[in-house]
Assembly symmetry: C2
Homo-oligomer: 442 residues x 2
């Protein structure tokens, strides 16, 4: 038979079991955290009708789409989870309760040029809250609480959330009465982190903005102090622009609630340089950084938008949301050795019958342990004891139970701790207690 070389397309992540277990643990933590705040699950098709999915797309996005026909249908693979959400909410708005809080965790597709750390298939983990007609500022305060809770649980190092409100910047720039589009200026400010003050100043000058105005902008975004001090300093500027003051009030409200969520300035910073590039966002915006590895960039970002689904419905559906690109994050964390991998097993115990004669007793023992919600793998293979121990070792299974003639006669088992090497012949009941108390998997 002709052998075809087994391989996959580049830009697709496929993990060996050990890493897949770690990846799934992260997925589970994300899902559990989202659910702990009451977000509801959504699962949309990977394939959408092209005219629906690409209603808004264009330019770069459209080039990356996996698009094809099947029969009479022009189809595309989803490239994010926001457009399918918009489509879903517009379709089902009369069947949903608002505010509609949903999470979605799923793969999305972008046919980018393959390069290190860039993926063509990747998991997005999103939450969004969608209002019908309006959406209270209280929602803007809860989102950072979700991010905070999540990254505490993921336990991948110190992090902080940077938060801003685009209305503040837009309003401030309006108040300057300069002849350049505010969104152009925001796009430059957004690069502050990467290119620094000098370059931002230079670019703003090149845009033809008066030097004094540029200085005002720079001094504005460099406003320093604690979160509350920043608010106070901005208030003292006495800017009368309505948008500016709306943004400032919203930001002030968010900051005031953050402390009730027991989040300190260690983890939450009002930062005027954060703008999120996209014009899509209209109010509060968020970015999240790992303090030990700022080079990762923002690992969880999002913000508030005015209208989710203008392409699908006339109804105003304002929303707020965040997204995590988990495939890329996992890849980066692995590269930076930031994932703790000591718990990378599915089974807590591997049951080894010494002989085929001991198999029946081993089945009952495995059954009993498993019925106590302990993942239990029974060795179904004949072969050397050594090869079986090697299997347990490679699988990082923390305990092994050995069952031979003696154990079977006495109705006991020999339980071995694979880390310490400690080994005791005890009752099944006692073995279950040991296994239960060992908190291998959370």
């Amino acid at each position: 038979m002709k052998i075809i070389e087994p391989r996959i397309l580049s830009g697709f992540m496929e993990l060996l079991p050990e890493d897949q277990i770690l990846f799934n643990e992260m997925l589970d933590t994300i899902r559990k955290t989202y659910e702990s705040f009451g977000f509801l699950p959504l699962d949309t098709p990977v394939i959408e009708l092209s005219d629906v999915l690409l209603a808004k797309a264009g330019g770069e996005t459209e080039k990356q789409i996996y698009r094809f026909t099947k029969g009479d249908n022009d189809l595309s693979l989803r490239f994010d989870l926001t457009v399918p959400l918009a489509r879903f909410v517009a379709m089902h708005k009369d069947e949903l309760s608002f505010p509609f809080k949903r999470y979605q965790i799923g793969k999305v597709y972008r046919g980018e040029r393959a390069q290190r750390g860039r993926f063509r298939e990747f998991y997005q983990c999103d939450i969004d809250v969608i209002g019908r007609g309006n959406l209270d500022t209280l929602e803007d305060a809860e989102i950072p609480a979700v991010i905070y809770s999540l990254f505490k649980k993921l336990d991948i190092g110190d992090f902080y959330i940077r938060c801003n409100n685009r209305k503040i910047l837009n309003g401030f720039i309006n108040s300057l009465n300069i002849n350049v589009d505010a969104s152009e200026i925001l796009r430059i400010i957004d690069k502050w982190d990467k290119i620094g003050e000098e370059s931002v100043t230079a670019i703003l000058n090149e845009m033809g903005i008066e030097e004094s105005r540029v200085k005002e902008i720079i001094s504005f975004i460099k406003t320093d102090g604690s979160n509350q001090e920043k608010i106070d300093k901005l208030k003292k500027l006495n800017i009368t622009d309505e948008l500016f003051n709306e943004g400032l009030n919203e930001m002030s409200e968010v900051i005031s609630y953050i402390s009730d969520y027991k989040i300190t300035e260690e983890n939450f910073v009002f930062d005027l340089t954060i703008t999120r590039g996209l014009d899509y966002y209209t109010g509060t915006v968020y970015e999240t950084f790992l303090k030990n590895d700022m080079s990762l960039g923002s690992i969880c970002s999002g913000g508030r938008y005015e209208n989710l689904a203008s392409y699908y419905t006339d109804e105003l559906l304002p929303g707020i949301g965040i997204s995590i690109g988990l495939t890329r994050l996992f890849y980066q964390l692995k590269e930076s050795n930031l994932i703790k991998s000591n718990t990378s097993s599915i089974s807590k115990v591997f049951v080894i019958p010494m002989d085929k004669e001991n198999y029946k007793y081993s089945v009952s023992v495995s059954n009993e342990i498993r019925s106590n919600d302990i993942n239990t793998e029974l060795c179904n293979t004949l072969g050397s004891f050594k090869s079986k121990m090697k299997y347990a070792n490679r699988g990082k299974i923390p305990y092994v139970i050995i069952i031979g003639e003696d154990e079977e006669k006495s109705g006991l088992v020999t339980l071995k701790n694979m880390e310490t090497g400690e080994q005791n012949t005890i009752s099944v009941r006692d073995a279950i207690e040991v296994l239960k108390n060992e908190d291998n998997r959370k």
Copy 2:
């Protein structure tokens, strides 16, 4: 702005949150059960290279593939999880421990003609055990134990597993020395359930098999009695065919271990009419039926195969596995009203501040409850109390906490059981105890 009608392609299941919660609960139960037996997670790309994915395919399967080009690549969406498994094992055989036990739960794609209850995108939930060179019969006995454990937990009604071994039938037919391909005869026998004894007899006769031989076949597959009695009766036939006796011994071994798994004949039947259509299977085969709704057909099927990955490697990789098509099963269970939907909420409690003044206290209360692993949704919306209660009701949230001026002053909360209407003003600690003890979600 031009409004595009939001819609999805037919043949794609998309659920409202209430149903999605139930669907996810089933997915979780399947995953937990697979893991409880030590199966390791695998997640392969949805898009594969066509020459790799379609190495084996042809005819009907190939017509259903979603196939397209992107750049220079000829790509296809996976149509099952077995071919990707074969490709994965062949690629990584030197990095895996054998027997390699993996589960995979994911969406697969078949561009079938859309019809009621048929899906073009659907979840498959598979387990397989792959040996390198060989795979012990003990594995054949564990698979029904996984099925049994799973359907007990899914709690969708009485079920039974029908099990057979193709070697028994093939060997028996060999021993008859008739001039018809055994696999042809097996394909007819497989229809026993649907078309009955008379039609099977008629078709076998039409195939040109001698009448007396047909009678022998019919009488063979009608062998009755308990599982052990069937084995004994078949042994007494004194058939000397080697394959027959190999199959009989394997079946006998499986039956002998089944009782150690505490599975009775209520749930496990040796059934000579089960053959699984595909030639792919070479030994033990399984099907699973709901007793209350046999019309669903087999809802979990599989068996043993001689060689997983002959298209990708010269190495012999025998395996055994089962698959559940969950999208279709969920659809059928909903149609037949076989899903219990009383636990369909994510949040266990909905916290309602009576006024914006009570919001800060409500945040702390929510925080405290949530930190006890209780899913807690805080109402972030201003609006009438009535509308907030309606929201909780529609979301089937079992408890509501109401926080007004009195509660805040006294540092208490008012906890309302939404089912009974009972309402008490108690401490947050006490509320947490009530919520913990209510086993809303498993």
